[in-house]
């Protein structure tokens, strides 16, 4: 799966994109966020407070219990501030 990061999440993690295999036991976007948090370091910090982060799967806003699959494009970012 492809994971994209935007805004301060991207800056804090030092990367805008990565490609990983779907980790074992990850069924929802919330599971994926936990998996990334467990990497520790910048990931541990970035994913420590879920209220500060939003997620999209295949370019659609989703809640934390949304399903993820091996071929998905997933994104993590702060609440949007367009316009």
């Amino acid at each position: 799966m492809t994971i994209l990061y935007f805004a301060w999440v991207r800056q804090q993690l030092g990367r805008g994109e990565e490609t990983i295999d779907l980790p074992a036991g990850v069924k929802t976007i919330g599971d994926l966020a936990n998996h990334l948090r467990q990497r520790g370091g910048a990931f541990g910090e970035a994913f420590s407070d879920r209220k500060r982060i939003r997620a999209a799967v295949n370019q659609e806003h989703v809640p934390w219990d949304a399903a993820v699959h091996a071929e998905d494009e997933v994104a993590f970012f702060p609440p949007v501030t367009g316009g």
């Binding site: 994209l4 301060w8 970012f77 949007v80 501030t81 367009g82 316009g83």
Partner: protein, 148 residues
Amino acid sequence: MNTIRIQTDDFDVNAEIAKLKTSGDVGAVVTFTGAVRRDADIQSMTLEHYAGMTEREIARHMTEACSRWPIAGATVIHRIGKLAPGENIVLVAVASSHRQMAFAAAEFLMDYLKARAPFWKLEERNAASRWVEARNVDDDGLSRWRED
């Protein structure tokens, strides 16, 4: 005729109005231009977006606006990159046969853009930079359009 553009360049409101006026029985065009506010401290504002998702999401909400109101055409242009105070950020323009529809659809699209379109703003002020926090009031702007 609907138009969506994400670009670094500025836009030309006259030209966008002229294009919309050719799309049917147009008696009214409402535009919204958003600009970087001239806050004394802000040197610049850098806009980042999620390419692909942005266009999809805006297109989806334009389709929704067209189903709610009999509009002849709509245009959304959103700039990205580094912008100085006073520079334009976003244009929403809606053409309709009657003014109420044009106002309502333009306001709906702006409320949506503020609350849901994947853009982020980095403010540079006093040699420091800070990501602009989302304001809950923008979610409230959107909520009044929900039917349930």
